[in-house]
C-alpha cells in the first residue's frame, strides 16, 4: 500500500508527560514521527498536538488507535487530505557576502512574500511559511543558504 505523509491532530488534557506518552507510544510501537508541534488552545487546560508521520493507511489506523487509547487524550483526528489547511515555517540564514547575492535574495523576498527578519553585511535571516517548503528551501543552497530551522506542521480543519 502507498506510503504517504499523514497529519494527525490530537486534543489532549494539558497534563504533565502527555507529549512524552504520545511520542513514547509511537516510538515503542515502531512508528516514526516526522514532525510534531504542540501548544495550549483557547482553553488553557487543553493542548493541541499536530504530528506528521509517514505510512500507509493500515499503519495510520494503528497509530490513531494506539493514541486514542492513552488516558489523557480527548480526540484524535486524521487531517490528511483536503479538509484542513496546513502550514509550516522555516527560519533561513543566508550568507550574502558574495557579489550580487543581496539583490537576488531581496528580489526573492519581494516576489515570494517572504519576510526579511534581520540583516547585517554578512548574513540575513528570512522567514518562509508554506504548505511544504522543504524542497524550496533546499534549493537555496546556491544563494548562500547556510542553515535553517523548521517548525512542525500546524494544521486546522476548514470547518
Amino acid at each position: 500500500m502507498d506510503e504517504r505523509e499523514n497529519v494527525i491532530s490530537i486534543l489532549v488534557n494539558n497534563k504533565p508527560d502527555v507529549l512524552a506518552r504520545i511520542s513514547g507510544t509511537l516510538s515503542g510501537r515502531g512508528f516514526n514521527i516526522e514532525s510534531i508541534s504542540a501548544n495550549i488552545t483557547k482553553d488553557p487546560n487543553k493542548t493541541k498536538i499536530i504530528l506528521t508521520t509517514i505510512g500507509n493507511k493500515t499503519t495510520l489506523a494503528k497509530i490513531l488507535k494506539q493514541i486514542a487509547k492513552l488516558v489523557d487524550i480527548i480526540t484524535v483526528e486524521d487531517l490528511t487530505g483536503r479538509k484542513a489547511v496546513r502550514r509550516e515555517m522555516f527560519l533561513v540564514r543566508f550568507n550574502w557576502q558574495l557579489e550580487g547575492r543581496k539583490e537576488k535574495i531581496a528580489a526573492l523576498v519581494e516576489k515570494k512574500k517572504w519576510k526579511l527578519l534581520c540583516a547585517n553585511d554578512d548574513t540575513c535571516i528570512v522567514e518562509i511559511t508554506g504548505e511544504n517548503g522543504l524542497a524550496e528551501v533546499m534549493a537555496l543552497t546556491d544563494l548562500g543558504m547556510e542553515d535553517f530551522t523548521r517548525t512542525g506542521v500546524v494544521a486546522i480543519e476548514k470547518a
Partner: protein, 579 residues
Amino acid sequence: MKISGAQILFKALAMEGVEVIFGYPGGAVIGIYDEMTRQNIRHILVRHEQGAIHAADGYARASGKVGVCLATSGPGATNTVTGIANAYLDSIPVVILTGQVPTALIGTDAFQEVDITGITRPCTKHNFLVRNVSDVGRITRDAFAIARSGRPGPVLIDLPKDIMQMELEEADVNFNGEYNCEEEPVDRSQINRAVEMIREARKPVIFSGGGVVMGGASAELRELARITGAPVTSSLMGLGAFNASSPLWMGMPGMHGTYCANMAFSHCDLIIGVGVRFDDRVTSKVDLFAPNARIIHIDIDPVSIDKIIKTSLAIVAGAKSALSAINAELAEYSPSSHVSIWQEQVLKWKREKPLSYKKSEAIKPQFVVEKLYEVSRGEAIIATEVGQNQMWGAQFYHYKKPNTFITSGGLGTMGFGLPAAIGAQVARPDAIVVDLAGDGSIQMNIQELATAVQNNIPVKIAILNNNFLGMVRQWQEIFYQKRYSHTDLLGNPDFVKIAEAYGAKGLRASKVEEVEMIIKEAFATEGVVVMEFIVDREEGVYPMVKPGSPLTDMDLGPMAPEEDSRAEIGDDPSTRSFN
C-alpha cells in the same frame, strides 16, 4: 481537622475496598508505613519488591479485584518493573504505590531517586507523579478506576515523601476522580450482524481469552456454547472460563495446543473470538491461520482488533455485555444438522489424537500434573512459573472455573508463580493453591518462601525438577542440534532442605509410585509445602507447531502406545455426547 497525605491515601484505599497490600518498606515510604500502624489494613511483607507486584497480580487474577503493592523509591520501584510489564501484557488490574524523594529533590539524582513514571510509561496503562497533597485523594481514586475499567492494566502512583507528610484541612480533600471510565453501550447493529453470521455458520468455533476471565463473562460464554453448539477453545489466558470437562471443550490451541483445537481452527468457517488478541503463539503463521473462516472479534480494546488478524466483524465491547446481547438474540436459535456433523468431526479429532506422553520408569512431568488434577479433583488454583511447567499445567490440568489458572501469558516471566500463588492464596484462603514450578524458575523468586511461611499462607509448591532450563533445552534439541548451551542446572540446591530451612515442609518423589503419595501428604498439610519431583530429564512439550509453520503442521512428539495414551482432555466418558 488536619489530615496528612498518607492518611488521605489510606482513606482513598478504603473507599476502593482495598483489604490487603503486598509491600516492602524503605526510606521514602517510611511515613506511609508509620501511618499503616494506625490503619485497619492487612499488609503482607514480601522479601523482594518483584514478589510484591507478582503477589498483587496473582491476588487480582484469583479475586477479580484490583491488587495493590507498595515499594519504596529507587531500587524498590525498579524492582517492580518486571512485574508491572507482566501485569500490563496480561491486562491485570494492579495499583502500584511507589515512594519518591521529596519534591524539592526530584531531578537532582538524590539518594534512591529514579524517574519511575518515566521508566514505567510504556508498561503501565497510566501513571501519576503526585505533585500536590490536594491531589492524593483524586489521583488514587482515578488510578483504581483506570486500572479496572476497559481493558484492565497496571497503574502506578509515585508518592513523594514530603507530600505524604504534608497536611490539609479535611474539608479540602477531594476524593472524586476526574476520568470517565464508563463502558460505551454495545452497538446493536454489530450484534445483529454477529447473530446473522452465527446463524449462517456450519462449522463454528468459539475462541475465548483472558478478557472473558477478567471480564467476568464465563457464564455468558458457557451459555453461547450451549445455544450454538460451537466447540470451544481458549487461549492460555482464557483457560478456566469454559469448563474443561464439557464435551464441547477442545483444549488450548496454538504452538503447544491440542491437535483438535488446531485442526478445528484450520477447518472451521467461523471463529467467534472473544477477549482474545490472536497472539503469535496462537495463530502461528498468520497467512495460513483459519483459511476458511470468517472472524468475529469481540474485544474491549480497539487496538487488539485487526492488529494481527483481519476480522470480518469487529465488536468493540466488554465480553460480558457483548455475549449477553448475542445470547439474548439467539434465544430461539437451534443449530442446524451441519453443526452436528461438525461436532462429530471435532469429537473425532479429539479422540484420534489426544494429548499424550510416553510412560517410562522415570517420573513423567505430565503424570505429576495429572496426579495434581486427580488428587485435587480439579478444584485447586494452579499458578505456574514459565516454560515447560507452564505448558504442562495448561495441557494436563483441566480447569473448570475462571480465575483458577494463574500464569504469565504475555511476558512469560520466570519467577512469577510463587509470589502469584501467594497472592492467590490470600484472595482465596480456603482453596488449595499450587505453584507449578520448574527447577529454574522457582529459583528466581525462591525468597518468597519466607513470605509464605511468616504470613501463614499455605501454598503448595510442586517443582518438576529435570535439572534443566527445560523449554530452552527443548528448543536447543529441536533447532540447535542438541547443543545444550548453558541450560544444564546440575548445580541445583537440595530443594527439600531449602524448604526446611525456610520452615516449610519438604517432600521428594523420585519414583513413580511416590508421586501420588507426596501430593496427598502435601494437600493434607496445613502449612507451606515444597514437593520436589525428580522427572525425566529430557521430556518435551508436545504437540509443537514450529514458529512460522501453519497450525496443521504439528509435531505430535513421541506418540504413546494406544493403551498408554490418555484421552481425558476434558473428556468425561459419562457425558460423551454434544448435548
